[in-house]
């Protein structure tokens, strides 16, 4: 696929190292359709290209939204983009979260840190099709209260009667009145129908590992659990081999996988 030029409509700081950009295509069409969980290759001209999950609403394709954490040269350059600046977009790529398969089920979404961004499109989808699902639960863990993404939106979601939102931080000063502890400590408190639940997890791999264990302890089988994997993605279409993960390419066969399908590879340290 060819990189298309997009322009920055809006840029917003989320935390000290994370920001959200709204983009619109320059020229070719006015809509960018994608499925929750898919990602784009974003290219800062002359600097580099990186895979970034789409974090906007799939039912509002007029704006392409990405939440980005600064970790290297390309993302640092993206942080400096101003309204009207151009950026290259190639995508969407990857497999979606199982929002269709989850119809009729309880859904538990577990996010760690920046992992909330790739899950936000599925939250939008679940909430705008709320009557198709059983309980919908979000468990979100971050480092400190200052690292919480989408604060206003989380407040709005928390006020809904049909969406259970639990937030925890790893450490906090006494002014924080919420939960303190790792995100796995929220799992025993969440109320869901074990045999009829789909879990979607995104966060650092070590967090996902312990989260899978805790869900399994609660009685969820591996084919009820979906995780979003991350490796060094370059081409985005499974040709270059940079993101090979056992028999899979993360960019083409993932990034969302059922845990059942990758459990044999998940604990392999060499991959």
């Amino acid at each position: 696929m060819v990189t298309q030029p997009f322009k920055v409509l809006r840029a917003k700081s989320e935390t000290y190292d994370t920001f959200t950009v709204e983009l619109a295509p320059i020229g070719n069409g006015t809509q960018f359709k994608f499925l929750p969980g898919q990602f784009n290759m974003l290219y800062v001209f002359g600097v580099g290209e990186v895979p970034i999950s789409i974090s906007g609403d799939p039912e509002k394709p007029a704006k392409l939204i990405h939440t980005i954490r600064t970790v290297g040269a390309a993302t640092r350059a993206m942080q400096k983009l101003k309204i009207g600046d151009a950026i290259g977009v190639r995508g969407p790529y990857g497999t979606p979260w199982p929002v269709e398969k989850s119809v009729g089920h309880d859904v538990i979404i577990i996010a760690g840190g920046i992992g909330l961004a790739p899950l936000r499109p599925s939250i939008y989808h679940l909430l705008s099709n709320r009557n198709k699902y059983g309980k919908v639960i979000l468990l979100y863990g971050t480092r400190t209260p200052d690292d919480i993404l989408y604060k206003r939106e989380l407040e709005k979601w928390r006020s809904r009667f049909d969406f259970d939102v639990y937030i925890t931080v790893d450490r906090a000063a006494v002014a924080w009145r919420g939960n303190v502890g790792v995100v796995t400590t929220l799992i025993p408190k969440a109320q869901f129908n074990i045999s009829n639940t789909i879990a979607m997890i995104c966060g650092p791999e070590i967090m996902m590992r312990y989260t899978v264990q805790e869900l399994n302890k609660r009685g969820l089988s591996y084919n009820q659990i979906y995780v979003s994997m991350e490796r060094n993605m370059r081409c985005g279409v499974g040709l270059c081999g940079h993101c090979q993960y056992g028999p899979n390419f993360i960019c083409k066969d993932g990034a969302v996988f059922s845990y059942e399908s990758i459990k044999d590879w998940f604990l392999k340290r060499e991959l």
């Binding site: 480092r143 006494v174 650092p204």
Partner: protein, 151 residues
């Protein structure tokens, strides 16, 4: 007359505990309430109780002169608070402060220790349940130490 048996049976920590043991435990228990901001115990004080949280939220804190009070963990509905009553020298290692209005059942540690000495089956049951909680909290503390969300 309403006794605390009902609340003890309902609490997850004592789930499936035999009625003969509930009867022993209820003799060591008291219904308590803490207002938001109230200290439940402070580091270094005698650890003579532990608490079954019925409703509310409590922060386990450590005080540092440079950084003030730092919350290490919160416990809420259905959790237990405190195990220093089990291990000599029976002193609290941290502070505990109610984050919001908290209702709990306080269990007298010395009373319960004596009953566990007299009835080893009860003692083993209590130890098994605390060992499970300790394992969970140790795992959580290790994960917190890893700072998994850092770059």
């Amino acid at each position: 007359m309403e006794t605390l048996d009902r609340y003890l049976i309902e609490h997850p920590f004592l789930k499936d505990m035999g009625p003969e043991h509930i009867k022993l435990i209820v003799g060591c228990s008291a219904n308590v309430k803490f207002d938001a901001g109230q200290f439940i115990f402070k580091e270094g004080e005698e650890a003579d109780k532990f608490y079954l949280i019925r409703a509310g939220k409590v922060a386990v804190e450590v005080y540092s002169p440079e950084r003030g009070a730092i919350a290490l963990q919160t416990v809420d509905d259905g959790d237990i608070l405190g195990w220093s009553w089990l291990i000599p020298p029976y002193k609290w290692h941290f502070d505990a402060r109610a984050v919001e209005l908290t209702r709990a059942i306080a269990l007298d540690g010395k009373c319960l220790r004596n009953k566990c000495e007299d009835d080893y089956v009860l003692g083993y049951e209590i130890m098994k349940r605390f060992a499970y909680i300790m394992e969970q909290r140790l795992d959580s503390a290790r994960l917190q130490l890893l700072d998994v969300y850092g770059k």
